[in-house]
């Protein structure tokens, strides 16, 4: 049965599909497990806003920005020291119910975040906007009219260059 929202595995798959990028930002209330409090295998708490998930030999860091309704998932080289096991409900509790815009307005969007654009004196960051298609469960490139809005909602105010910047 197709989920109308993203699953956590969809998130991981989206990030893995674009290995040049270090992180994928989505609207936190578009992730199924966090909305319904479903379990996420291997989820562990690192800090109040950071969680960790392992998939095979890979480790992913989850960061919650509840004031902006943004969830970021990114690669990490080594697992961090965990505080305790965690559930999807624990993350879901941090997500605001007011943030309907993210998931519902026009689709399920994602923002891939890479390193600094090479030679960019202004600190511009390489990004790429995506849209998730629930029917096919695929991440598709998105270049439509909502790109400025997606960039503003998912990218602005966050420390983009904190994502292990490297020249692209």
């Amino acid at each position: 049965m197709n989920q109308p929202l993203l699953t956590f595995d969809d998130l991981i798959r989206g990030l893995e599909s674009f290995p040049k990028y270090q992180a994928l930002d989505v609207f936190a209330n578009s992730v199924y497990e966090f909305c319904v409090g479903a379990p996420v295998a291997g989820l562990a708490k690192i800090s109040e806003r950071s969680y960790q998930v392992t998939r095979g030999d890979k480790t992913f860091l989850l960061e919650i920005f509840p004031e902006r309704n943004v969830l970021r998932v990114r690669h990490v080289a080594k697992p961090a020291l965990v505080v305790a096991a965690a559930t999807g409900a624990a993350i879901g509790a941090k997500i605001s119910d007011d943030s309907l815009l993210g998931a519902l307005a026009g689709g399920l969007f994602g923002l891939l975040i890479g390193g600094a654009v090479a030679g960019s004196a202004g600190g511009a960051t390489r990004i790429f906007t995506l849209k998730f298609e629930p029917e096919s469960r695929q991440w598709l490139a998105y270049d439509g009219g909502l790109v400025p809005w997606v960039k503003e909602q998912l990218g602005t105010g966050l420390d983009l260059l904190g994502v292990n910047p490297k020249a692209s």
């Binding site: 030679g119 960019s120 790109v147």
Partner: protein
Amino acid sequence: MPNDETSVLIMPAQHDAPSTSTPSLSEPQIEGIVEAYRLQMTRYEEAALLVERRLLRELRAEAVRCLLSSRAKHPDDLRDKIQLKNRKHDSRYGLDTLARDVGKVVTDLAGVRVLVYQVDDVAKVQRVVRTQLRLAPCQRNDEVHDKLDGYWAAHLIVEIADDERTSLRGTFCEVQVTTVAAHVFNELEHDIKYKTHGVDVGDAETKTLLDLKAAARLLDRAAERLLIERGETAIRTQREISDASQIQFIFEQRAGRKLSGDFERLFRFVRASVDKLTAATLDSIGQPQELLRRGDEIATAVGWADADDVAKLVMGLYDSYEVELEALVNRPGRPGSFKHAVEVARDFKVRT
């Protein structure tokens, strides 16, 4: 004024040589032709609208700022035209040919007007019409009218192609291209000279028309300068680029020449690939001259002789943005030179 090499420059009409052997049309005959046209006016309205919409889409992709309008010729204007040609004994306006298909003789029954802001864009529109539509198989289907004391515009006559609506198949449509400033003059000049209402045009009016034509030319130049200055301001102030025309301007400044292609598509791609799109970040993505050189190299290697500049830029970007470009063109959508450029770059990379 732009003078495209492939257009025919028309000086005061030489084709309306009187022919004493051609019988004149009587008023009832003219009225019959007009009435027959009135009954099929809808066809010409739809043809004009079809061409307008097609051009709107294509010109938007090329980031050409313009105003478009379309119309079917009013029956009164058709009557006036036939009467005028009849008085001049124009051999093309015979009863048989008009009765058979008035649209093949009066080629502007369906008309689209394209008003551009910049003089240089006239040539761009002409190119789009020639490449994206089918020029009609008739005489004088691609010409520029540039009379010293009068009208200035490019005229192209297109034919609705076989693969479009069958009810409109074969219908001719005239596309008139001119600048906003020239249009003001053209309209006033036409009204004064051709709709005299029994009052002759005086010397003072003729002189004022000349002044108006000169003013229109000055306005064209000023509009062009204004748009250039606006573009240069955008570059200087590092303002975020918000539309395709700005990206086109910046690339053209860097390349040192006018560029062709689907800048709308390119703008959307670049906007989706950088968090803040300014002139500086655009430069960081790639130097236009180098991208064009690389794209030209690929186009030449595969024999793509008529690759436009945006296609070359895309091919030049492929090495750095392969994954993103492939993701974009793998979505369902209509084919175009942007998608073709990605496919060509991919094949070239595989081969080399």
